[in-house]
């Protein structure tokens, strides 16, 4: 444990500038007593992950972003993004981008699928860097605590939709809309352009479901392609102003989720039309 901590510190020193280290030291989180939050988030592990993502963010995927001023600097918010890829690279790049564009850096708490905690190592590492399993209780806890929460309302069908259906948004789950209405928090639509071509899938094995994962994807390439990522943040949607106190009305909640989906789709289309090429 002590060795692990020393390695983390060495890693942060090696890959983060003094300025970045100072910014990360101001990271806001709710310490539950021993440097971790109640859901297992550890700021040191988060800093290590950010440092590890740096090469991928700056050199490999050469991420650009627009509309970052729409990310709330304080208070709770839900960020809803399109989803793709064999690994959640899109999620990692959004989290890194948010940390870079907010001061003090904000940690976007990613809502992952419920099978993630069942996976040895993966579950632990993800919880240390801020990913939480997608249960309503965890979601509520984060919103009540003033966190920004990153959701992929397409869920697993988003990552399993295949290359031919890239940028075709799958059906949006409605949980994020319900909670946005209940807690009256803004929803920021996010579109990630590039991620859906980065790691094409040529097939999948539905019969193999390790640790409760819905399928085992078969990638076309051993590593993701160095496609350029463009992250677009849209204007925050005030669903409560639009739909009122409708968190318990299934029809209105579904309509609110459709509104979010439409906003993400619009951003995606704009991002795709602005893109000059896959790698530029």
């Amino acid at each position: 444990m002590r060795l692990r901590r020393q390695l983390k510190q060495a890693w942060i020193r090696a890959f983060c500038s003094a300025e970045e280290r100072a910014a990360l030291a101001r990271l806001e989180y709710r310490d539950a007593g021993h440097g971790y939050d109640a859901l297992g988030f550890d700021p040191e592990s988060f800093a290590v992950a950010l440092a590890a993502c740096r090469l991928a963010y700056e050199r490999y995927f050469r991420v650009t972003s627009s509309g970052a001023h729409h990310i709330p600097t304080r208070g709770p918010a839900i960020l809803a993004a399109n989803h793709s890829g064999l690994l959640p690279i899109d999620g990692a790049m959004i989290v890194a981008d948010i940390a870079r564009h907010t001061s003090p850096p904000r940690v976007a708490r990613v809502i992952g699928d419920v099978f993630i905690p069942l996976m040895p190592w993966v579950g632990t590492i993800f919880s240390r860097i801020g990913v939480v399993s997608g249960s309503p209780g965890n979601f509520r806890h984060l919103l009540e605590g003033g966190d920004i929460v990153l959701v992929f309302p397409e869920g697993t069908p988003g990552i399993g939709k295949g290359f031919r259906k890239r940028y075709e948004l799958q059906e949006f789950r409605v949980g994020h809309a319900e909670l946005a209405l209940r807690y009256r928090v803004p929803v920021v639509p996010v579109a990630v352009v590039g991620a859906e071509e980065a790691w094409p899938e040529i097939g999948r094995i539905d019969a193999f479901q390790p640790f409760g994962a819905p399928f085992l994807p078969i990638p076309a390439t051993p590593l993701p392609l160095p496609v350029r990522f463009h992250i677009h943040y849209g204007e925050p949607l005030d669903l409560a102003a639009e739909f009122g106190d409708a968190a318990d009305d299934p029809a209105l909640v579904a309509e609110a989720a459709l509104l979010v989906k439409g906003a993400v789709q619009t951003l995606l289309e704009r991002g795709l039309s602005q893109r000059k090429g896959l790698f530029s």
Binding site: A32, G33, G137
Partner: protein
């Protein structure tokens, strides 16, 4: 001024609670009940504010006479039921009688008693069904562990908890159930305390769940608030220490060795046989794989309880 009956009064929790109640200006006297002789620490309590009785609560007649004799004489108003069997390996009808039947009898008799108006039951976080697919924070509404294959210690605690909960709203008594996080201390039946007794602690490979641990000071404070408060309800009582299992092992000064999960149950069973330890891996399997932290917002809102006393690590000084 309140008159309180405390069961399990010879246990560390019972002793601490009895002293805390006697220090309160709101408590007139305490009727302390246990199966063991009077602890030495009660010797310094002067006057008639503490009455100590050795009673076998599993005997319905003894329990009835206690409440309708000493209880009547003293005018007991509140019962704090804290007498549950501590060992994880002991099983059978005698243990069940103490854990469940006594709780049922005590509650039933208290309902007929003329002066008793409040019943406080110390339950445990072990009653919850830990499931990684559910929320990490356990609220009072989360599912209970109803697996028939669970060890008797867990099944008894769930049954006792439900026995008390089912009377809530139907009884004339104010009923309070405190589902307390694990108290990390000696002689209180703490599984983790016994787990840390080894110089080497085996933990499941690839898993490092978040734990929430309670100190004796915070537990005593929560019990006092529940004893002297008003109203009924079920409340989670979290501790001030929320940390990963690996960090807890480190703070205790132990060496951790990650090992494949399926090996741990037989290894710890063997250890229990050889060294007579109380730790049962099968009792802790779920929480050694999945994080489970008590959500104490209801206790804060309605009892005014907030954990403020972190553990002093290592909390025992075993060596």
């Amino acid at each position: 001024m309140t008159r309180v009956l405390v069961t399990g009064a010879s246990t560390p929790v019972g002793i601490a609670l009895t002293h805390a109640l006697l220090e309160s200006p709101l408590v007139d006297c305490v009727l302390a009940v246990a199966a063991d002789p009077r602890p030495d620490s009660f010797a310094r309590v002067a006057g008639s504010r503490l009455v100590y009785r050795v009673v076998d609560l599993t005997r319905a007649r003894a329990l009835h006479d206690l409440l309708f004799r000493e209880g009547n004489d003293l005018g007991v108003e509140v019962i704090v039921h804290n007498a549950l069997h501590r060992s994880a390996w002991d099983e059978g009808p005698r243990i069940h009688a103490l854990n469940v039947e006594t709780t049922r009898d005590l509650l039933g008799t208290a309902e007929r008693h003329p002066s008793i108006r409040r019943f406080v039951f110390r339950s445990a976080s072990a009653v919850y069904h830990v499931d990684p697919r559910r929320s990490t924070l356990l609220s009072e509404d989360d599912p209970l562990e109803l697996d028939p294959r669970a060890p008797q210690k867990v099944r008894d605690r769930v049954e006792a908890d439900l026995t008390v909960c089912t009377r809530m709203g139907m009884s004339r008594l104010e009923i309070v159930v405190l589902r307390c996080a694990e108290l990390l201390a000696a002689r209180v039946g703490s599984q983790l305390y016994d787990y840390f007794a080894s110089r080497v602690c085996l933990r499941p490979l690839g898993f490092d769940p978040m734990l929430n641990l309670l100190s004796l000071e915070d537990l005593t404070h929560a019990l006092c608030l529940a004893t002297l408060g008003r109203g009924s309800g079920v409340f989670n009582i979290p501790g001030a220490d929320t940390l990963p299992l690996s960090r807890a092992i480190e703070l205790w000064g132990r060496t951790e060795i990650p090992a494949p999960g399926p090996l741990l149950a037989p290894l710890y069973r063997w250890r229990a046989r050889v060294r007579g330890m109380d730790f049962r891996y099968d009792l802790n399997r779920r929480r050694f794989h999945s994080s489970a932290v008590l959500d104490g917002r209801r206790a804060l809102r309605e009892l005014g309880y907030r954990p403020v006393h972190p553990l002093r690590w290592p909390a025992g000084g075993l060596d």
